[in-house]
Every structure is written in C-alpha cells, then in structure tokens.
C-alpha cells in the first residue's frame, strides 16, 4: 500500500464515497414499491414501513460495504510489508458508534410502535366475520339478520372489517398477502384482526402456518365489492341459506 | 515462556474446585428444567376455570405429604450433619449420618409412590394430572438419583475412602441433595398447598 496518504485523508475519501453511495441508494429506494399489491389500509402502513426500514438500512449497508471494499483496495500488504500500526481502539469513535446505532434503533422502535398501534386501530367495525380453519379448508361465517356460511370471503370496500379466527384442529394461519394481514388460527382460542380493504377485486386467502399434508393447498379467495354489490350478495346468501 | 507449572494436575484442591463449580453450573440448568415445568403448570392452571378443572378429581390431602416434606427436609439436615462429622474426622458419625439420610430419602420415595397409587387421578386425566405427575415425577427421579449418589458415597465411606481431607464428592452430593430439597419445598407450596 502507498503510505503517502495520511490516515485522515483515507477517512475523508472513504467517507465521501459512502455519502454518495448512500444518497444514491436512498433515492433509488424512494422510487420503489416493495409489496406487489397494496389493497388495504393496513398494507399501506406496511409498505410505508418497508420503505422507511430500507431507507435506514442503505447507509448501514453502504458503511459496511465501503468499510470492506476500501481497505481491500487500499490496504493490501505489499511484499516487504511488516505489521500495521498497533492501534487497539479509539474511545470517542467507539462511544459514537454505540450511541449512533442505539439512536437508530430507538428511532426504528418508536416508528414501529406507532405503525403497530395504527394497524390495530380502534375496536369499531362495520362488519364481523368468523373465519373457521380446519385441515385443510377455510369456511367463513356471516352473522346479522341470518347467519350463513360461505367457502369464499366477500367484503365491502372501504369498510373496517373485524375477522375472528378459530381452528378446529391444528394451528393454521389466516393470510391475505394483498391486505398484508396475517393471524394464526389457534385451536382452543379465538384470535382476531381488523382490516380495511381499499381496492375492489379478488385476492387470495392462504394458510401460512404449516398444518400438515394439505397446507400447500389450503387456499381460498377474498372478493372485495362496492358496498351496494355487497348488500345484494348478503341478501342473496341469506335467502339461499334460508331455502 | 519457560518454567514448568503443574496447573492443578492431580492437585486435589484444584480438582475439588472444578467439580463443585461444574456441579453448581449443572444445577443452574436443572433449575431451568424445573422452571419450564413450573411455568407450564402456572400457565395451564391460570387458564383453567378452576383447579382442578374437572370436579371429579380432587387434590391429594395435605397431611401425608406434609409429613413427607418434613422427612425430606430433615434428610438434608442429617446429610449436613454427616459432613460436619467428616470435617471433624469422625468416621462412624459420617456413616451414621449417611445411613439415616438414605433411610429418610427412601421413606420419602416410598410415601410418594404410595400417594401416586392412591390418588384418584392419573397422568392422563387432563392438564391437572399432566402437570401434577410430571412435576412430582420429575422430582422423584431426582430424589432417586440423589439416593444412588449418596449410597455410592456411603459405600466409599464404609471403605474408609471418605475422610477429613478427601470428601469433595460428599460435598458435591450434598449440594445436589439440598437443591432437590429446595425444589420439593417449592413444589409442595405451589402444587399441593397453593
């Protein structure tokens, strides 16, 4: 290696490279959409969280990348070289690093907590549905004027839905990637989630917890409709179950 | 580097230190073992509507097990007494102390087994039976182990191999025995009394 360059000069160069890479990286990330489908209020929060986490990660990633690449290029031992300088540590730097990463973690934690509470939201809901899981199929139960069961989940758009989840046999997990939501179905206890679909369409429901042979196939569909269409569907189903 | 150092090789004091430290560490993991079973007991009991959950079982009476508890506790005392004897170099006292300890431990086990046979419920009778028998059974296993170890030491004492300056094994065993004892008291208070 060439000993021309002074230690602090090395720092400056590496620091500059790091800054540039980080900024470029962050700009790229800000242009991304990470989740392929974002069809619920909750999914929006999650997408936002993913972007924020990635933005925070870029400088960390770049720091380590530069920290590896720069020495690999500049600090290679030459043939005659003996040992490097006997530096055992650097108090101020160590404190700075610990406090720095700690601050980042605190930031992430606060942000994460806010997001979580936001996802949970209040306990009001427009509609309550019960999702029954059993090896290896889903069954959805609607209440109100007349109770009835449906093999597919149908929801009105833009309304807060309260989904109660229970299992008849083993642990399953109610998962709708498009909504971002996921909640295990545990035998012997009732679990719940709130979700607010925001885009009309048909999406997949899947079981996300290993539950034996049929786990792979344990899927259903969820259709999100305009409230009016949903009302019609409800009426029709109730009539059907009446007959 | 250079001069020869015999680093505790064959040095009895050093060896003793290692053995005792090792045992203490092992006991730590034993504490976690019982801890897990106790955790399960409290969680399941907490979730049950009543304890025992089903009315057709009832918890064993306290009289017999209470006496049994006293027996086990006193066995710890006699064992400690045996150690004090060996420290004084009193071989016959040592043997007597160990003998009594073994007898007391034996009685404890016997009573436990008697109780198991006369409880109105089995291990397969709901979470009540599951937690009760796995906890007491696990502890019983430890008592048995302790008894075997004490008997070994007693045998060596009989052969005069345990004396004022060679009784590490005895101390180790007593440490273990006291631990088993403490576990029982906890178990008695939480599983039987509480």
């Amino acid at each position: 290696m060439n000993d021309r360059t002074s230690p602090r000069r090395h720092l400056l160069i590496a620091g500059a490279v790091w800054a540039v890479l980080s900024i470029v990286g962050i700009l790229v990330v800000l242009g991304l959409q990470i989740l392929p489908v974002i069809a619920s209020r909750e999914a929006v929060i999650m997408e936002h969280a993913l972007i924020v986490l990635t933005v925070v990660s870029v400088p960390v990633l770049m720091f380590v990348v530069v920290g590896l690449a720069y020495p690999a290029i500049r600090f290679r031992a030459g043939p005659g070289d003996q040992d490097g300088p006997p530096i055992h540590g650097h108090q101020r730097l160590e404190v700075f690093w610990v406090l720095g990463t700690f601050a980042m973690v605190v930031g992430l934690f606060v942000y994460g907590s806010v997001g979580l509470l936001d996802i949970r939201g209040d306990q009001q809901a427009f509609l309550e549905v019960e999702a029954h899981a059993k090896q290896w199929e889903w069954d959805f139960e609607y209440f109100g004027a007349k109770e009835f069961h449906s093999p597919e989940l149908v929801l009105p758009v833009g309304q807060r839905i309260h989904i109660l989840i229970e299992s008849k046999d083993v642990v399953h997990s109610f998962s709708v990637p498009a909504f971002g939501v996921k909640q295990d179905a545990v035998p012997g206890r009732l679990t719940q989630i709130y979700v607010t679909p925001t885009i009309v369409g048909t999406y997949g429901v899947q079981c996300a917890e290993l539950c034996g042979l049929g786990h792979t196939r344990m899927q259903a569909s969820v259709t999100v409709m305009e409230p009016s269409d949903f009302a019609d569907w409800l009426a029709q189903m109730q009539a059907g179950s009446g007959g | 580097m250079g001069e020869v150092i015999h680093h505790g090789e064959g040095d009895p004091v050093e060896e003793a230190g290692r053995l005792l430290l090792g045992l203490k560490l092992f006991i730590l993991s034993e504490i976690m073992l019982f801890g897990a079973f106790f955790a399960a007991y409290f969680v399941l009991r907490g979730e049950a509507p009543s304890w025992p959950p089903s009315p057709d079982f009832e918890r064993p009476g306290l009289l017999l097990v209470g006496i049994n508890t006293l027996i086990l506790v006193s066995s710890s005392v006699t064992l400690q007494w045996a150690i004090s004897q060996v420290r004084r170099g009193n071989a016959s006292g040592l043997r007597r102390g160990l003998g009594i300890t073994i007898v007391l431990g034996g009685i404890f086990l016997a009573v436990q087994i008697y109780e198991f046979l006369n409880n109105g419920f089995g291990i397969a009778d709901g979470v009540f039976g599951s937690t009760f028998y796995s906890l007491t059974g696990l502890h019983g296993l430890h008592v048995l182990t302790g008894l075997v170890l004490i008997s070994v030491v007693a045998n060596r004492a009989r052969l005069g191999l345990v004396n004022r300056d060679h009784h590490t094994a005895l101390e180790a065993v007593s440490l273990y025995w006291h631990f088993v004892d403490v576990v029982w008291v906890t178990l008695f208070l939480t599983v039987y009394v509480l």
Partner: protein, 622 residues
C-alpha cells in the same frame, strides 16, 4: 482387570464394536417392560416401544463403549486404573483412538468436526432435493415426502449450526488457546460427543417411521397427529440437548479454572470469549426446550394434555417454551462464528483487534438480551397483545451489540496490511452475508412489517443469510485458518479461493431472490407455488445446486490437503495466540511445560513481532 485383556474377548473389547453390540442388546431389552405390560393388558403401542427401545440403546451403547467403567470402579471404591486412563487418552498417531471413547480434547474436537461436516453434506443434499421440488410449479413428489425432507433438512442443519464450531473447533482449540492440557472433565467431554451418533442415527431413520412433517419447530397439535417419525425428531432433539448441556458445563469450568499463568480474562483470545458466552447461553436455555419437547413427547406416549386444547392444554405455551430456547440458540450458532471471524481478522490485517473490550462486552450483552426476545417469532401467534411492543424493542436492541462485531472487524482491517489468504476471504464473505441477514432481521423485528413477511420466503432468506452467511461462513473461516494446526499441513490456497468465490456467488444468487419471493407472499413450507413465481424459483434452484457443487471442491481440497498438502510448520500465518506457538499438529499433551502469558493475544505492530507470514501477501501461493 477388565475382560478386554482376554484374547478371546479382545474383539469385543470396550469400543465401537461393543458399543454397537450393547446398543442392539439395549434396543431389545429396553422395551421389555412395555411388552410385559401389553400382556398385562394395558394399552401399549409402537410409540412406547420406540421410546423405551431408544433409551435402552443409549444405555447399552455407553456401557459397551466402556464409558461407565472408571466411574463404576470409583463407586465400588477401587483404585483408579491409571493404565486404562492413559489408554483412554490414546497415543499420538494411533488412528484407532478416533473411533474409541477417547478423552483427548483434540480427538473429540476432530470427531465433532468430521461428524458434523458429514451431517452438513447430508442435510445439504436434502436441500438439493427440496430445490428440485421447488424448481418449478406443480409437485414432483407427495406433500408428505416434501414436508419430511424439509423438516429433516431444517432439524439436521440446526444441529450442524449448533455443534460444528462449538464442539469441533471449540473442543480442539479452547484448551490450546488458554494454555491447558485438556478440558476440565475429559470423560464428560467424550460422553457429550458419544451421545450424538445414536441420536443422529435415529433421526436419519425417521423415514422408516413414516417421517415427520412438523418442520424443525414441531408445533403441536400438528406434532401430536404426526407419524411415529415425529418421535425420532423429539428423542433426537432431547438427546442433543443433554449433550450440549453437559459440554457447556465442561467448557465453562475449563475457561474459568484452567487458564494458564498470566492468561487473565482480558487476555483471553476473542474466540474463547465467544465460546464462553455461547456455552453460558446453552447451559441456561437448553433445558427449557428439552422440557418443551418432553411435554410434547408425553402428550404422545403418556396421554398428557399439555398442548391439547380439547382438554385444557395450550399450543401457544409450547411456542413460548420452544422459542425461549430457540432464539438464544440462534446466538449459540452466531456468536462462535463472530469469535472465529474476529480471531482471524487481526492475523491477516497484521493489526491488533480493534476495540477488544467493547467486543467482549457486546458478546455478553448479546448473551443477556437473547433471553428477552423469543416472542418475536410469535407476533401473529395470538399471544397476549401487550407483549408485541416490548419484544420489538428488545429485539431491535440486539442490533447494537451485534453491530459492534462489524465495527470491530472493520476497525481492525482499517489501515491494516491485509493478506487475502482463504480464511480472510471467508471473513469478508461473512461480514457481507451476515449484514444482509442481520438487517433483514430488523425488518422482521418490526411488527408491522413482520405481520406481512412472517411465514414467507423472506424469513427463509433471512435465516439462511444469518445461519449460512454467519455460522457457515465463520466455520469456513475457522476451518481454513486452523487447518494447518490440526492437520500439520497447508490447504491448497488455489482450491480454497475457488471454493470461496464459487460458494459465495452461488449462495447470494440463490438466497437474495428469496427476499423478493417473500414480498410476493410466497409461503414457506409449501411444495407448490403460483406459476408467476416459476422463473425466480428455477433460478434459485439452479444457484442452490451450484452451492452444492462447490462443496465438492471443498471436500476434495480438505481430504487431499490433509493427506499430502505441504507441511505447515508450527505457525504458518504468523499468529500470536498460544495454539500457534507449539508444533502442528499439537503433541498429545499439548504443552510439555505450560506457557506463561505476558501479553495480550493480538500485539501486532508495536512490540517485537512474530516472523511475518510464510504465505506471500497476494496469497496466490498454494
């Protein structure tokens, strides 16, 4: 005088043969009580027979190996048989001692190393089969087959990750690095290893018992309905647990009590520190999972109801107990790798380890924190909701001490005189891969994102980046670094570098795309997936097979170099820690005179230095 002295019985002298014989007898005798019960009319099934038969095997096996001999002598109050003790230690150059109940820590270390490298290859081959199934949509073989392969791969690999560095490199090098002649309890050490062959045999046989499809996590109630193979998993896991508790005690006593004169705590090589923390974690956490698995086993064979919801049991309780161990377990995998990596860095950067004390503190902090984060595996499990936020806090907090490892590594290479021999390459590979694994871990620690990502391939990618990118890379760094010491020969640098680049590129190519698959919502533990994910999965499969192929380079290099690589000499890398100051391979007694330590382990630069490395800086030599 033991029978083995009679010529007629020598064939069945204490050792492997008699061990196997004993095992077989035990297998036959063990279940007898149940058989009798059956005749007595109680309901008994294959489950009971398997469980008791296995216990019988263990007892017979150890009896046959002659493990109990000296203890029985002692119990009977007979004189210790010194000839036997020396024999148990074995003589240099006697290959047979590698197949006996040998008490030399170097032999035991080698036994661990080779056993788990072999297991790594087997479990890896299973992964190859998995990637075959996942190469395209639709199913090649039945779901049950896939689940069994997947579960076995996971379980075996967890054992690999837990034991290869600790049991292998740890047993071999800790006594050497602290200047001791052996571990504190050599026989116990041997015991902890010989638990493993019967245990592994059992789980490898699980297909015979119908396989098990509960994944490596074995969640009830599924684990209760699963085939008898589930029991192979439970019994093996419990046995491995016992083995690691026993060896943890041994390690801790060794480090606490057997450091040579002058080897103060703050002069301990960082690798020894890492193993101290690791074994402390193992000591405290392991018996908890052993209990959980035992309850699961009881639910199957004794009809208990711990996890059976229909009669008051609680499946989530199992998850709590399981993860209370299994999260700390991931640091049992990672911290030794941290230690190995930080051990290698100063040697090839020719600079003292940067911020040694801080690194030690970070290990301890990781050890403590690792007990407060288990529930981050259960954010969607239906556990109490108030639990989410504190667990998120503690989990993210672990990033700080873990970050210090990176800080220390980079601080060391900065301004160093880097020599890129193979071990150093693995260090760089480690820092990169584990960083990806760690950062994605933070994505999972954040509850809002974890809800979306849990049980998807994002998690699969995360933990392969942490375990493979962390533990396996660290293991290769350690193996290639210490190879000259335990074989006395140099590995081929050329092949070593080929393996490194091939493995690393293939590994990243295989697992980076899995993060994307996770975002697409592809679930883990499925044998089939939507068609639109076909291409990426095919790519991942091909890259995965490349990883597999790269391993042949390693196998070849490892065997060939061990057989006839160039002689290494005592200290080919010019390292300063104790193990390098004696012959390679080390003599049976390690040190003729125990050394006196007068300086820290990484005094490069400053004071008079070791002869500079025998490898040329570019590291191109072989």
């Amino acid at each position: 005088m033991s029978v083995s002295r009679l010529p007629a019985l020598r064939f069945f002298g204490p050792g492997l043969r008699r061990g196997v014989l004993g095992g077989i007898i035990g297998a036959a005798v063990g279940p007898l009580p149940v058989i009798l019960l059956t005749t007595a009319g109680d309901d008994v099934n294959s489950a009971h027979v398997l469980a008791l038969g296995y216990v019988g095997v263990l007892i017979g096996w150890f009896a046959g190996l002659g493990a109990f001999g000296p203890w029985l002598r002692w119990a009977a109050g007979r004189e210790a048989d010194h000839a036997a003790a020396v024999a148990a230690h074995g003589h240099a150059g006697d290959w047979r001692r590698y197949f006996r109940f040998t008490t030399d820590h170097k032999v035991i270390g080698t036994q661990y190393m080779l056993a788990f490298l072999a297991l790594f290859l087997v479990a890896g081959s299973l992964a190859m089969v998995m990637r075959l199934e996942l190469a395209q949509p639709g199913q090649l073989f039945g779901t049950d087959t896939y689940n069994t392969i997947m579960s076995t791969h996971g379980t075996l690999m967890i054992f690999v990750a837990l034991n290869t560095i600790v049991g292998g490199l740890g047993n071999y090098f800790v006594p050497l690095m602290i200047g001791a002649r052996d571990m504190a309890f050599p026989r116990v050490n041997a015991l902890s290893f010989w638990f493993i062959p019967p245990a592994l045999l059992l789980i490898l046989l699980n297909p015979v018992f119908g396989g098990f499809d509960s994944g490596w996590t074995g969640y009830p109630p599924l684990s209760r309905q699963a085939n008898l193979g589930e029991q192979a998993y439970l019994l093996t896991f419990i046995t491995m647990g016992i083995s690691s508790i026993v060896s943890a005690v041994n390690f801790l006593v060794t480090v606490a009590r057997m450091r040579t004169t002058g080897m103060s705590w703050m002069r301990l090589p960082i690798f020894v520190w890492s193993l101290t923390v690791t074994t402390a974690i193992a000591l405290v956490a392991t018996s908890v999972v052993a209990s959980a698995l035992t309850m699961s086993l009881f639910d199957r064979i004794l009809g208990t109801d711990f996890f059976r919801p229909t009669s008051g049991g609680d499946p989530v309780l199992y998850q709590h107990l399981f993860w209370f161990y299994s999260h700390p377990a991931v640091y049992i995998m990672a911290v030794p790798a941290f230690g190995a990596v930080l051990e290698v860095v100063p040697v090839f950067a020719r600079k003292p380890l940067f911020a040694y004390r801080l690194a030690v503190l970070s290990f301890i902090a990781i050890g403590l924190l690792s007990f407060m984060v288990w529930a981050h595996h259960m954010f969607v499990s239906g556990m109490a909701e108030f639990f989410h936020i504190p667990i998120m806090a503690t989990t993210e907090l672990i990033s700080v001490p873990t970050g210090i490892v990176f800080f220390s590594a980079i601080g060391t290479i900065w301004l160093g005189r880097l020599r890129f021999a193979t071990p150093m390459l693995w260090v760089f590979g480690f820092v990169w891969s584990f960083l990806i694994g760690g950062i994605t871990g933070v994505y999972l620690a954040d509850v809002p994102t974890d809800i979306a990502l849990t049980d998807t391939y994002f998690v699969v990618a995360h933990f392969h980046y942490t375990i493979v990118g962390g533990m396996i890379f660290g293991m290769f760094a350690g193996l290639t670094y210490w190879f000259p010491k335990f074989t006395g020969r140099m590995m081929s640098e050329r092949l070593g570098k080929l393996h490194f680049w091939w493995f690393t590129l293939a590994f990243n190519a295989a697992f980076l795309p899995m993060f994307w698959l996770g975002f697409q919502g592809m679930r883990r533990r499925v044998a089939d997936y939507p068609a639109e994910l076909a291409n990426v999965n095919l790519w991942a499969s091909i890259a995965a097979w490349m990883i597999g192929l790269s391993m042949f380079v390693f196998i070849f290099n490892f065997i060939r170099s061990w057989a006839r690589g160039p002689k290494a000499g005592p200290n080919p890398w010019g390292a300063r820690t104790l193990e390098w100051q004696i012959a390679s391979p080390p003599p049976v007694e390690n040190f003729d005179d125990l050394p006196v330590v007068t300086a820290g382990p990484y005094e490069y630069g400053g004071r008079p230095v070791m002869p500079s490395p025998a490898i040329d800086p570019s590291g191109a030599s072989s």
